[in-house]
């Protein structure tokens, strides 16, 4: 699996997107905190966090006895640059070309 595959796979699940949204609101949370907001077993939440970690979307860091989960937005930016920006540029340039063509016809 490539890095992109892992990110897309991680994002393809509503629970995992929900976990990312929770971390976006407030970063650096423990498993217990995240678990308390989900209708899911501790083991289930751990499994989802593992997938997010493998994709690089969540980075963990020890703080005393606790393991804190941080949202890492860098992979999403890379996906954006690779898959979204490129196609948006083409769309914009297609519209710009259309405008030029139509204006030339009028002239």
């Amino acid at each position: 699996m490539t890095d992109d595959d892992r990110v897309f796979k991680a994002l393809a699940d509503p629970t995992r997107r929900h976990l990312l949204d929770r971390l976006f609101e407030r970063d650096g949370r423990t498993l217990s905190e995240l678990e308390s907001e989900l209708e899911m077993t501790r083991f289930g939440v751990m499994k989802h966090l593992r997938v997010l970690e493998d994709a690089g979307l969540v980075v963990t860091r020890r703080s005393g006895r606790e393991k804190l989960h941080f949202l890492n937005p860098v992979p999403i930016r890379l996906i954006h640059d690779r898959w979204i920006d490129k196609y948006r540029e083409r769309q914009v340039s297609a519209l710009a070309e259309l405008k030029t063509e139509l204006e030339e016809e009028l002239a």
Binding site: D3, D27, V59, R61, F70, N72, V74, D81
Partner: protein, 167 residues
């Protein structure tokens, strides 16, 4: 528990995997001829010993837009090339941000499998909410935003392809 929650709220962690050696990444962070090629226009100078000075200097473009010449100042806390760099980081680009406490940035460089290196930036932002908001910014570069996400993806692009977003 109080301490942990506090840490949680004021620390930010960013990670990127780059197809490059730890040494190449170390150089790209610490050498002005490299670090002026990605991220915000300007260069960063490091005196790589404990207590040594760190200065981020705005490029001519940024200065023309009203940025001060000295954008960020700080001190090297720990330099262990090419594995770990700890520095303080005190932005000065406006009065509000300059009035905040200096923050702390740790760069961890670890070799992964297959010629890939893992770079983790940990930014500790205690008593610096304005700085925290600005380094998180997800706005586009031309809107003045970008923060760490932009800097690190630009660094990855430069090391892997030889050119950054702007060149």
């Amino acid at each position: 528990m109080t301490t942990d929650t506090h840490t949680a709220v004021t620390t930010q962690v960013y990670r990127v995997y780059i197809k490059a050696t730890p040494q190449a990444i170390w150089d790209a962070i610490t050498k002005p001829e490299w670090n002026e090629r990605y991220g915000y226009p300007g260069r960063s100078e490091f005196d790589l010993r404990p207590g040594g000075a760190f200065r981020a200097i705005a490029g001519p473009q940024a200065q023309a837009m009203g940025m001060p010449e000295l954008l960020v100042e700080g001190e090297v806390v720990e330099a262990d090339p090419p594995r770990r760099l700890v520095q303080t980081w005190h932005p000065l680009w406006d009065e509000e941000i300059a009035a905040e406490s200096p923050t702390r940035v740790t760069w961890d460089i670890e070799e992964d499998d297959g010629g890939v290196t893992r770079l983790t930036v940990t930014h500790e932002l205690e008593n610096a909410p304005v700085t925290a908001a600005q380094v998180t910014s997800t706005a586009r570069l031309h809107e003045g935003g970008g923060g760490w996400v932009m800097i690190l993806s630009d660094l990855k692009t430069l090391l892997e392809t030889g050119s950054s977003f702007d060149s």
